[in-house]
């Protein structure tokens, strides 16, 4: 009987401990700020294409002839803005070079006292790469993320989605890696693929914690799969600050 009472007391204390620690954890994990950085990858042109030679081999010695040439990016075109203009009778208007319309975008912005506790030096990053190519953004520390808090904080990171083009083509977000280090430190020897919130169990990964104002350098590396078609791909790098 005595042992049973002791067991009950121990069980009660355990439950009490769990109950008491939960609010503390919840307090620690209060989200303070979140920033969404736009990452754009311009996939332009297969760098080298096989072009069979059209000339038949001459009689006698058989020959295998081929040529390598750079594929012309399909999207890069230069245009001249020119048009036909007809004065007077509009019925004589027979052609137009371009038509233009515009839309006004408006917003009423309220300042945010917490709007600057987590900031980046740029709102977006654009990287140009060919299929099969790995490109590292230079110079080092071109992208920074700064925590402007002097009390205890923790920072999480990740990509929201895979990289997606306007035509619906995608390539994995894990092909984007980051080498993130404090700006007073040296770069790490290797880069780490981002976790992708939409693919990896809807969680972010921990980046760091501290009790002082801290700036991180984020050196990005993108490896475009060889099968990726030309186009403009984008995703969001999300940084979330807790205290």
């Amino acid at each position: 009987m005595k042992r049973a009472q002791l067991l009950l007391v121990a069980l009660g204390l355990t439950i009490l401990g769990i109950v008491l620690t939960q609010p503390v954890k919840a307090t620690i994990q209060t989200q303070q700020a979140q920033i969404i950085l736009n990452l754009v990858v311009q996939v332009v042109g297969t760098p080298i294409a096989y072009v069979p030679h059209q000339t038949l081999a001459q009689s006698g010695q058989p020959a295998i002839v081929s040529a390598l040439r750079r594929a012309v990016p399909s999207i890069q075109r230069t245009f001249r803005a020119e048009g036909l203009h007809f004065d007077g009778d509009l019925s004589s208007l027979v052609a137009q070079a371009q038509v233009q319309h515009s839309v006004l975008v408006q917003a009423e912005v309220t300042p945010n006292p917490k709007g600057t506790i987590l900031v980046s030096n740029v709102p977006n990053v654009t990287i140009t790469a060919a299929p099969g190519q790995t490109v590292k953004v230079t110079p080092p520390c071109a992208l920074t993320v700064t925590v402007n808090m002097s009390t205890a904080w923790s920072l999480e990171e990740g990509l929201s989605n895979d990289l997606t083009s306007s035509t619906g083509s995608t390539f994995p977000g894990k092909d984007v890696a980051n080498d993130t280090y404090k700006n007073s430190a040296t770069p790490l020897p290797t880069s780490t693929p981002y976790i992708v919130y939409a693919d990896d169990g809807r969680v972010w990964s921990g980046l760091g914690s501290g009790t002082a104002i801290t700036t991180y350098c984020v050196d990005l590396t993108v490896t475009v799969p060889a099968s990726t078609t030309d186009g403009t791909y984008s995703t969001n790098a999300v940084y979330t600050l807790f205290n």
């Binding site: 975008v105 300042p111 403009t232």
Partner: protein, 216 residues
């Protein structure tokens, strides 16, 4: 379709009686440009408006007073908070018809930098983004990847914070297109995202987005 057509005309020069007749070919060239009809409709579907970037269940869209109704007004995000990201659903519908079987390009750029009309502060950078939407359905969120509207390097006319003063851009060379059609007639549906600068001051902000359609 803007091809070059050419013909050769034989010019006969009539000389005085008794003299020999002389002739010379004259090469005549001209461009034929496509006829383009382009309709831009803001707030093109019921349910248009702004939602805060949120995972999971999406809040109901709201909008500011500039968005006066379906197919009318401005793309008005309404009340926003500095540092937050918002999605504006059913922002712009581009309906384009041409007589160009090769299709056309659509260029879209910001006419100027994001401006606070209340204190005239300006925010260089790319804060308004576009992403594909649907004609009557829309599964985007504030976290769906978009692409930024670049600020134009063309010559801008007009464009104050008034719907009656639309901005126009004169191009010497066109930028990267935001869309391309390989057929003569097409429709494009866009949502917008607004990434409000974290250090933005309070006030009424505006930015003109200018679309230009050019035949291939």
């Amino acid at each position: 379709m803007s091809g070059v057509f050419a013909t050769v005309a034989l010019i006969v020069v009539l000389s005085p009686a008794g003299a020999a007749t002389a002739s010379a070919p004259v090469n005549v060239q001209w461009h034929v440009l496509p006829v383009i009809n382009f309709t831009l409709t803001p707030n093109y579907n019921t349910g248009y408006g702004s939602v805060l970037a949120t995972f999971g269940t999406q809040p109901a869209p709201t909008h500011g007073p500039g968005a006066t109704g379906v197919g009318a007004g401005t793309v008005d995000f309404g009340k926003t908070i500095a540092g937050d990201t918002y999605l504006y659903k059913y922002a712009a519908h581009l309906h384009i018809t041409t007589n160009d079987p090769a299709g056309f390009y659509v260029y879209g750029e910001a006419a100027a930098v994001l401006t606070n009309n209340s204190d005239t502060s300006q925010y260089p950078g790319q804060y308004v983004y576009y992403l594909n939407s649907g004609a009557s359905s829309d599964s985007n969120t504030g976290f769906t990847p978009g692409l930024p509207f670049a600020q134009t390097s063309g010559l801008v006319s007009g464009g104050s914070d008034s719907i009656s003063d639309p901005a126009t851009i004169t191009y010497m060379s066109y930028p990267m297109p935001v869309a391309q059609s390989g057929v003569a007639n097409n429709d494009f549906y866009f949502d917008y995202q607004f990434k409000v600068p974290g250090a933005a001051t309070g006030g009424n902000y505006y930015l003109w987005i200018v679309y230009t359609v050019v035949g291939e």
